[in-house]
């Protein structure tokens, strides 16, 4: 923060200096200066651009602040933490925190399980939402608007109200604490945030020209063929969007995961990085007791290292696939009809 502020004040000083300079010599192109500051028809003014960039950079920095803070903290040793002169840059890059945190979280196993917990329901979501969205968009049947209304309603309704009977239902069916508790609802179009995905697909399939499908039908394509061969390929952006968001949302879900899959009182074998992070302190103390040597008591740096580890896979994914993420909302077409 201080560095940034310094730069800013310097800039402001420069500005005021230039103002003064022009003020002292009024003959010197006052008009030009004004044009430069306030802008003309062709060009945006310097003042406006300065304000916009300044605000954007400041807010961007505020946005990134927690992450930067986390990164810098995660490298610090205990001495660095206590040293008040060290604010941002640690004295040495200490990877020991990461090693400790990874061992206490059982990183590789949790990572694998996280990928499964997020990935399998995502595929199910994709399949079911595509089929349901197609059914809504392509066919006219009585009560279609009612169906869409109910879908919107399921989005608004908090999941807590149906949670308890669902929990009982799962335990009666014997699928509690297994992955089936996530797979089954997502196969039936009731997964996490499935209403959004259904609406995205609906929106997409509506845009497929009906003429195209009719032409295919004349050429002898059945309902399934026209779905797989014509509609689905043209909905590729929707498929990408839905799979990315579904993956991220399942990955980040800790409330339902801990309840249905990981188990609340009795732990099943399932776990995920986020759930490991949720019980990080107790996990760590357990680990510190059993570890033979080198385990220091839990401190802020290790906390931050653990947090960093649990979001690292998503961060990597985001930076690799950033284009699809950022353009996703443009492409879903929720904004324009």
């Amino acid at each position: 923060m201080p560095k940034r502020e310094k730069e800013k004040t310097e800039k402001q000083e420069n500005k005021s200096v230039s103002k003064k300079a022009t003020g002292a010599r009024p003959k010197f192109n006052k008009d030009k200066f004004r044009k430069f500051m306030l802008g003309s028809k062709e060009k945006q003014g310097f003042l406006k651009l300065f304000c916009i960039y300044g605000l954007l950079i400041c807010i961007g920095f505020i946005y990134l602040n927690p992450i930067l803070h986390m990164i810098s903290r995660s490298f610090m040793t205990l001495d660095d933490l206590l040293d008040s002169s060290i604010n941002w840059i640690p004295s040495s890059f200490n990877l020991d925190n990461y090693a400790q945190a990874a061992r206490s979280m059982d990183f590789w196993k949790s990572l694998g399980l996280s990928i499964i917990i997020a990935g399998v329901p995502t595929i199910c979501n994709l399949v079911s939402c595509a089929v349901i969205g197609y059914g809504l968009a392509r066919f006219e049947f009585p009560g279609r608007n009612v169906v869409i209304g109910i879908i919107v309603f399921t989005f608004i309704l908090p999941s807590q109200v149906t949670m308890i009977p669902t929990y009982v239902l799962y335990s009666n069916m014997g699928i509690l604490s297994t992955l089936w508790a996530f797979v089954l609802p997502s196969l039936l179009g009731m997964g996490i945030n499935a209403p959004i995905f259904i609406l995205i697909f609906w929106q997409f399939f509506r845009q497929v020209p009906k003429v195209l499908i009719e032409a295919a039908q004349i050429d002898g394509a059945g309902y399934l063929k026209s779905f797989f061969r014509i509609s689905l390929p043209s909905a590729a952006p929707a498929i990408i969007t839905v799979s990315l968001f579904s993956f991220v949302w399942y990955w980040n879900e800790s409330y339902l995961t801990s309840m249905y899959v990981a188990g609340v009182n009795v732990k099943s074998g399932w776990t995920s990085l986020v759930i490991q992070l949720d019980s990080f302190a107790s996990n760590y103390s357990k680990y510190a007791q059993t570890a033979s040597s080198g385990a220091v008591t839990l401190n802020e740096s290790i906390n931050m290292a653990g947090t960093m580890l649990s979001i690292l896979p998503l961060l990597l994914m985001y930076f690799v696939l950033q284009r699809y993420f950022v353009e996703s909302i443009d492409r879903t077409g929720i904004t324009g009809e």
């Binding site: 807590q160 179009g189 998503l314």
Partner: protein, 343 residues
């Protein structure tokens, strides 16, 4: 033989209008049949069941669950005898109603700034969307616990103290909490920014040009063109934000429900938790309804004026008719009187 006749029947029926439409409808229902099953199994049944639970005290025994009917006892106990639930609920409502406008307005401002001709637009979008990817309950908990969630440059303590002096504690708590977790509040606005941005980009530039020719300033353009055009998106974003906040793990009510669900006692088991969940859902739906009423598309001014004018004209016509009838009656009366007088 019979097969043939069946096919013949089919062929004959095919000629009839509506046959294809009927088949289309059936196939459509077949396509959404997984959803129908899902709704029955995971929405309708649990909803009814949880309402029944809420009216009972439930104790899980090895043989199954033991129900004791208590009527609305759970609800009264919840509101009267459990102090933590009403306070948490009020806190949730106040903080939601305050933070939703903040998030939405903030998202709108950022979107408008990004919509200008700014270099590095993609980079900024990348930053503002980043929180959507990593925001989750435990991570936010960790960051807030570490104090990374607040803006260090602003003296937050002073603000919260000032707020606490002015307002009653029920309101001051959520507001001061809001200031302490300002960054996390801003973090919630990633999706909203992109929604606004893409809807802003779809506004026709010609409208602004026309307004400028007529002498409209940028400020007027914003209020009279931009805002009305993206009004539906404002509602969408409000609803999205409410849902996001209410399903977030940081929300203390849903944690309360979970704790009560697994407490294992008879009084505070599934039944009590169901009652809580029902009350909570009703409150969430009410908040959504509140924002929907505020932002739902109203009829535009012109249509209103036309309607008003039509109404006025109808009234006038009726008046004219009434006057006509009255005068006719009067005329008749006078005629009769005249006739009488003439006699």
């Amino acid at each position: 033989m019979s097969k043939m006749s069946k096919e013949e029947k089919k062929n004959r029926k095919k000629v009839k209008p509506g046959r294809l439409a009927k088949r289309d409808a059936l196939v459509g229902i077949a396509f959404i049949s997984p959803w129908i099953v899902g709704v029955l199994a995971f929405l309708a049944y649990p909803l009814a069941q949880s309402f029944w639970y809420a009216l009972n005290n439930i104790r899980p025994t090895p043989l199954g669950m033991k129900f004791t009917y208590v009527g609305y006892g759970n609800f009264t106990e919840l509101l009267m005898a459990t102090p933590e639930f009403p306070t948490t609920l009020i806190e949730y409502v106040v903080s939601t109603i305050i933070s939703v406008p903040i998030i939405v307005v903030f998202a709108l401002i950022i979107a408008i700034m990004l919509n200008q001709d700014v270099k590095g637009k993609g980079f900024f979008r990348l930053i503002f969307f980043l929180p959507v990817i990593i925001v989750s309950g435990p991570i936010l908990g960790m960051l807030n616990g570490d104090g990374a969630g607040s803006i260090t440059a602003i003296d937050i303590q002073a603000i919260t103290d000032a707020i606490k002096e002015v307002l009653p504690s029920a309101f001051a708590e959520p507001i001061s909490e809001l200031f302490e977790n300002m960054i996390t509040i801003l973090w919630y606005s990633g999706v909203q920014i992109l929604i606004f941005l893409s809807s802003l980009q779809k506004i026709d530039r010609a409208m602004y040009e026309a307004a400028k020719i007529d002498g409209g300033s940028g400020w007027e353009c914003f209020w009279k063109i931009t805002l009305p055009t993206i009004k539906p998106m404002i509602l969408l974003n409000c609803v999205y934000t409410i849902i996001f906040i209410s399903n977030n793990d940081q929300n203390s009510i849903i944690e309360l429900i979970k704790v009560s669900m697994f407490s294992g006692t008879q009084e505070k088991g599934y039944g009590f938790a169901s009652a809580m969940a029902w009350l909570y859902s009703v409150v969430v739906l009410l908040i959504v309804a509140l924002f929907a009423v505020l932002f739902l598309a109203k009829k535009d001014v012109y249509a209103k004026q036309v309607k008003k004018a039509k109404k006025a004209r109808k009234k006038e016509l009726r008046e004219i008719k009434r006057v006509g009838r009255r005068s006719a009656r009067h005329a008749k009366k006078r005629e009769r009187e005249n006739r009488k007088a003439g006699k």
